[in-house]
C-alpha cells in the first residue's frame, strides 16, 4: 500500500518524520515522504499523483489545527473517498485532553487521530483499521 507522509504547516521538527518513513517501510508500505513544511494541499496532491491509499500527517509544534481545517473541502474537491487520513504528534498547543482533541480532528475528516501517542502503537492501530476495512 502507498502512504503519503510529511509534517504539516510551518513545522520543521524532522526527527519523527524520518522515523515514520523508516517504520512504514519496515512494515511494507511504499512511502512518499514530503518532509517538513508541507501544506495540506500538497498532501492531497501527492495522493492524487501517486494514487495513494493513506495520508499520514504529523505535526509536532502544535499548529496542526489551523492547517487542517480545510481537509473536508479539499477531500471533496478531488473525490478522495477511499483514502485513509491519519494524523499524529502534538496536536494542540500545551496541555490538552484526548476527549477534546480526537472528536475535533475527526470532524475535520481524519479517520485516525493520535495525540501524543507512540509511533509504533499508532501504526499498529492503523494496520488494524486497514485490516478491518478490507
Amino acid at each position: 500500500m502507498k502512504v503519503v507522509t510529511g509534517v504539516v504547516g510551518n513545522d520543521i521538527h524532522v526527527v519523527a518524520n524520518r522515523l515514520i518513513d523508516i517504520s512504514l517501510q519496515a512494515r511494507g508500505f511504499e512511502v512518499f515522504n514530503l518532509g517538513v513544511n508541507t501544506h495540506l494541499e500538497e498532501f492531497i496532491d501527492a495522493a492524487v499523483e501517486s494514487d495513494a491509499d493513506i495520508i499520514l500527517i504529523s505535526s509536532l509544534n502544535g499548529e496542526a489545527e489551523g492547517w487542517c481545517r480545510d481537509l473536508q473541502f479539499l477531500r471533496a474537491e478531488y473525490a478522495l473517498k477511499n483514502v485513509v487520513f491519519v494524523i499524529g504528534g502534538n496536536l494542540s498547543v500545551g496541555e490538552a485532553k484526548d476527549e477534546d482533541i480526537v472528536p475535533k480532528y475527526e470532524s475535520y475528516g481524519f479517520d485516525l487521530v493520535f495525540h501524543q501517542v507512540d509511533l509504533n502503537t499508532g501504526l499498529d492501530k492503523l494496520e488494524e483499521f486497514l485490516g478491518k476495512r478490507s
Partner: protein, 401 residues
Amino acid sequence: MSKLLIDVGSTYFKISSDDGVEQQFRDFSKTIFDDLTSKFGDTINKYNKESVHICSSANGGLSTLIIGLTNSFSLKYAKNIAFNSGINIIDTVLYHHIDKSAVPGDLLDVVIVVGGIDSVGGIYDDKLFKYLEKLSYSNIVYVGSQKDAQYLSKNIESLVVLENIITDKLKMKEEALKEYLTNLYQQDIVGKEDIKHLYELTSNQIYSTPYIVNQSLPYVDARHEVINPFIVVDIGGATTDIHYSRDLSRENMLSESEYDRLVFKKLGVYKSKESLIFAAKNNEFVYELLNYLNVTENILEQTDEKALRVLMQLSIFLVLCKVSTHNSMYITLNLHLLKSIVLTGGITKVLSFEEVESIVQFFYKKILHTTAIPTILLDSNYDIWTLGMNAIEDKRIENVN
C-alpha cells in the same frame, strides 16, 4: 578575435562591440533587419559573419498550455521546466476542472499533458479528448505516467511521448521535456521571418535571450562581488524575468541545474506599462512607497523621465513582493536568505545605485521587517549578457574540438 554581440529585445536593441555597449529603441514601423542595419550598419559592417552573435527575445517566445493533475506536482513541475526552457506565455488547466475550463482562442505552440507517477494508470478519459478537440495547437507532448502513454497515443494525433517529469518518489525530472521545449523554441526563432532575415548578418546560431542569461549564471556566481544565493532581475519592456539560485526555494524539485527562472508576463516598463500601473495600484504598500519617494500617485499618469524612473522603482518593488509572498504563482523565494540582487536590462541605464538601494531598503523594512539588505549590483554594462554569449561560444568550440 573581437566579436560583435547583438540583442534584439521587444523594446530596444543593444550591441556590444570593441567600442563598448550601446542601446537604442526599436522603430516598429521597420522590420527588425532594416531597423537594426539602419541604426548600427556601420558597426556591423566592420565584422565578418563569423564574429557576429545574435540573441533575441523579440519573438515573444512560445505559448503553451499545460494540462495537469495537481497544482503541487504536475503543473508546478511542468511550469518550472517551461520557464527554464525560455517559454513566457503559460496557461494551465487542472484536469479535474477541465470540463469547466476556458478554451484559449489563440493558436498555441505547444500543449503539455502531465500527471501521475509511472505506476498509476487510468488517469485520463474522454474529457481530455473533447477539450483538445476545441483547442488549436501546433504540437502536443505527454510527460506523465507511462501507464497511460499508449492509451493517449491511440487517441491523440501526433502525440509526442517523453519520459515522465514526475519520478517514482514525486520529485521532478526535467531533462527530456526541457530538451524538447528548448528545441521547439529554437526552431521557432529560426522559423520567424523577421529573425530568419538576421542570418544575413551572422553565421552563428541565434539564441533566445533568457537562455543566454541562464547560461551566464555560473559565471556571475564566480564573480567576487556576487555572493550566493543571488537573484538576477531583468526588468524589460514587456516582461520581467527573475533568475534565482535554487537554494532560495524550498520546493521538492531535485534536478541538475542550480538556477531557475520565473517570468512575470505583464510587468514591463514600456509595452506592459498599463498592466504594471494596474498591479501597482492594487498593491497595498504602493501609496506609502510613492510617499517615501516624495511623489504623488499622479506621477503614474505622466510620461516624462521622472515618471519612468518611478515606474522602474515600482517594478522592482512589485517583483520582490510577488516572489516573497505565498500566492497563486507557483514559487516563493526565501528572501531572508538572499545575499545579492543583480539588476540587469534597460533599468540599469536609467536608475542610479542609490535609487535602487532605497527601494530595496523600503521593501526589506516594510515586507520582511529587517534593516539588513542584500548587496546590490547593477549590471549597467550588460556583463551578464556578454558572459552568456561568450559562454555559449566557448561551449560550441569545445564541442567542435
